[in-house]
Amino acid sequence: MLDESFYREQIIDLYENPLNHGELDPNDFSYEEDNPLCGDVIRIDVRLDDEQRVAEVAWSGDGCAISQASASLLTEEIKGMTLAEIKAFDKDKLLELIGVPLSMARVKCALLSLKVLKSGAYGIPDKGVMRDEG
C-alpha cells in the first residue's frame, strides 16, 4: 500500500515547476555543495540589498524530489531576510515547510539546501554546522 500523502501534491508540483530556479551572476554570495551519498547537488546564489537583506535568490542543481522541493521552499521563505536571520534559520522550520514525514536518509536530502545557504552566508565552507543534524 502506497502512502501517497508522502509525496504530497506540493512536492510533485515543485518538482515539476520549481520556484526561484536559475542562477544569479553577479551575486553577493554563491555556494554549491553535493551530498556524496546520493549525488544530489544544490547551488544557491543570493543578491543582497543595501540593508543586507535578500533581494534576489536563485537555486540550481540536480537531485530527488525532496531536495528540489526543499530548495524551492527555502529560497521562497528567505526573501527579505537579513544575513543574521539566514544564519539563524532553524532546520525544523524547513522540515515544517516541507510538511511530509521523512526518513533519516531523506532528512539529509531535505536539509541540503539549508546547508548550502548557510555555508554561503557564512562566507566559508562551514562543514561543521549541519553535519550532525543530517
Binding site: 502506497l2 502512502d3 509525496y7 546520493c38 549525488g39 537531485g63 524530489a65
Partner: protein
C-alpha cells in the same frame, strides 16, 4: 531449478512484514544477503554451547571452539578449491582484503613509476586502497574502460597491461552492471606481463562456482555477509609464495611465533595475518552458509539467477521510461541497475519501500562508474536464491505506481 518455496521457508526474515500488512520483498541482496536458519542456529548453538577463545586454551571448550573455527576455514578452502586452508586468511570483509594486500605486498613491492591496472567499474573497495598506495609510492593508476554495453573494452589492453604493470586488480562481477568479466583470461593476460593479479570476488563467490586454482589468481577477496553468512567475516585467498613473502598486516597476539622485547618472529600462515582474537562465531556462521550453498549447488544457484535475471530484465523493460544499465542477462549476474526518466532513484527507492520492496538507490560505492554514465545515481534491484517471479512482478507494479505519482 531451485525450489524457491522450500528455500524461502529457510529464511525467517522473508516471512516478516516491512510495514503492518505489507510483506517484505527483499531485493537488495548485492548489498547484503539475508540469513537462513541454518546459519542463525549454528551461531546460536556455538554461543550457547561451545564458546571460548581459540588457539589459546588447554581446556576442552577452547579445543572445541578452535576445531569449529578452523573447520570453517577448511570449508572455505574446499568451496573455492584453495590448495590448502592455510591460504585462506580470515578478515572482516572483502574491503579489508584489498587493504591488506595494498599495505603489505604493495608497500614492499610497488615503487615510483610502477603501474597498477584497475577497471572503470570497480567498487571503491578495489580503488581507494590502490589510490593511497599509488600516492604514497609515486605509482601510476591506469584503468580499463567499459563500453556502451557495460562490458570491459579490452581492445587497448596491450597498451594498458605492460611490463610496467606490477599489479592488476579487477572485479569478477560488477555490483552495478552485473557484468561478469572474463576473469580467467584477464588473470592469464596479467601473468603474461609478470603482474600480480588480484580478483574482487565479492559478487562472484556468492553466486557462481569459483575455483581459485582454475583462475590461477594471486589474490582473491570476498565477504561472508553477501553469501548468506554473517557480517564481520571475510576472506583473502592468496598464493602461498606471495603470502609467505609478505610482512604481516596487523600486529599483536596470535600472529607471532616468538616475542622478545625488541623483536618478534611471525607465525605460520594463515595466522601471520590474523592478529588478535578473531571473529570466531562469524567464521562458524560462514561455514554454515557454505554448507547451505553447497547443498543447493553453486551451478544450480547460478542457473536460477540467470533465469530470474532474464525474467526481471524483460519485465522491467515494459516500464515506460525505464533504462537498465548492464549487459544482457547471459553476461550478467543477478543485479538490475536502472533509472526512470523523470524520477530520481531516491524517490523510486522510497516509494517502492512503501510497498515493502527493499531496493538500493545511490552510486553503490561506484562513483566513477556513475560519473562516466553521466548520472549521479541508479536504483538497483538484486536477486538471490529466494527471489521469485512474483516478487519481480510486484516490483514492476510498484514502479508503475511511482510513475503515476510523478504524473508520468
Amino acid at each position: 531449478m531451485l525450489d524457491t518455496a522450500k528455500i524461502r521457508a529457510d529464511f525467517p526474515i522473508l516471512a516478516t512484514e516491512a510495514y503492518p500488512g505489507v510483506p517484505l520483498i527483499y531485493l537488495d541482496n548485492a548489498a547484503s544477503s539475508q540469513k537462513p536458519t541454518a546459519v542463525i542456529e549454528a551461531m546460536d548453538s556455538y554461543y550457547r554451547n561451545h564458546h571460548a577463545n581459540v588457539h589459546r586454551g588447554i581446556h576442552r571448550l577452547s579445543e572445541v571452539a578452535t576445531n569449529q573455527y578452523e573447520g570453517a576455514r577448511e570449508k572455505v578452502a574446499r568451496f573455492i578449491n584453495a590448495p590448502d586452508s592455510s591460504q585462506v586468511i580470515w578478515l572482516r570483509n572483502a574491503t579489508e582484503g584489498f587493504n591488506l594486500v595494498a599495505y603489505t605486498w604493495g608497500r614492499a613491492n610497488i615503487q615510483a613509476g610502477d603501474e597498477i591496472l584497475l577497471t572503470e567499474m570497480e567498487h571503491h573497495a578495489n580503488l581507494v586502497p590502490w589510490q593511497m598506495l599509488a600516492e604514497e609510492k609515486g605509482a601510476i593508476l591506469r584503468f580499463i574502460p567499459f563500453k556502451e554495453d557495460s562490458t570491459l573494452d579490452l581492445s587497448d589492453l596491450p597498451n594498458l597491461l605492460t611490463e610496467k604493470t606490477k599489479l592488476f586488480s579487477f572485479t569478477a562481477m560488477s555490483n552495478v552492471f552485473g557484468t561478469v568479466n572474463p576473469t580467467k583470461e584477464l588473470v592469464k593476460a596479467g601473468h603474461a606481463v609478470g603482474a600480480v593479479v588480484m580478483v574482487d570476488a565479492a559478487q562472484s563467490v556468492p553466486h557462481m562456482p569459483v575455483d581459485v586454482q582454475d583462475l590461477d589468481c594471486d589474490f582473491l577477496a570476498f565477504s561472508g555477509h553477501k553469501m548468506l553468512g554473517p557480517t564481520g567475516i571475510g576472506v583473502l585467498y592468496g598464493k602461498r609464495e606471495l603470502l609467505e613473502s609478505m610482512p604481516p598486516f596487523m600486529a599483536g597476539g596470535d600472529m607471532i611465533r616468538r616475542v622478545g622485547l625488541e623483536k618478534s618472529t611471525w607465525n605460520d600462515l594463515p595466522w601471520k595475518f590474523e592478529a588478535g582474537t578473531p571473529s570466531i562465531v562469524e567464521a562458524i556462521g560462514l561455514g554454515a552458509a557454505i554448507d547451505y550453498l553447497t547443498e543447493l549447488g553453486m551451478d544450480n544457484i547460478h542457473a536460477y539467477e540467470q533465469f530470474i535475471t532474464n525474467y526481471a530484465l524483460e519485465a522491467l523493460s515494459e516500464v515506460p521510461g525505464l533504462t537498465i544499465y548492464g549487459p544482457p542477462a547471459a553476461q550478467k549476474g543477478g543485479v538490475a541497475a536502472f533509472t526512470i526518466k523523470g524520477v530520481h532513484p531516491h524517490d523510486i527507492a522510497e516509494l517502492v519501500d512503501k510497498d515493502g520492496i527493499a531496493i538500493r538507490a545511490g552510486h553503490h560505492c561506484a562513483m566513477p562508474l556513475h560519473k562516466k554514465l553521466g548520472i549521479a545515481a541508479t536504483a538497483r534491484a538484486s536477486f538471490y536464491v529466494h527471489t521469485t517471479t512474483d516478487e519481480v512482478d510486484k516490483l514492476v507494479e510498484s514502479l508503475n505506481r511511482v510513475r503515476r505519482i510523478f504524473r508520468l
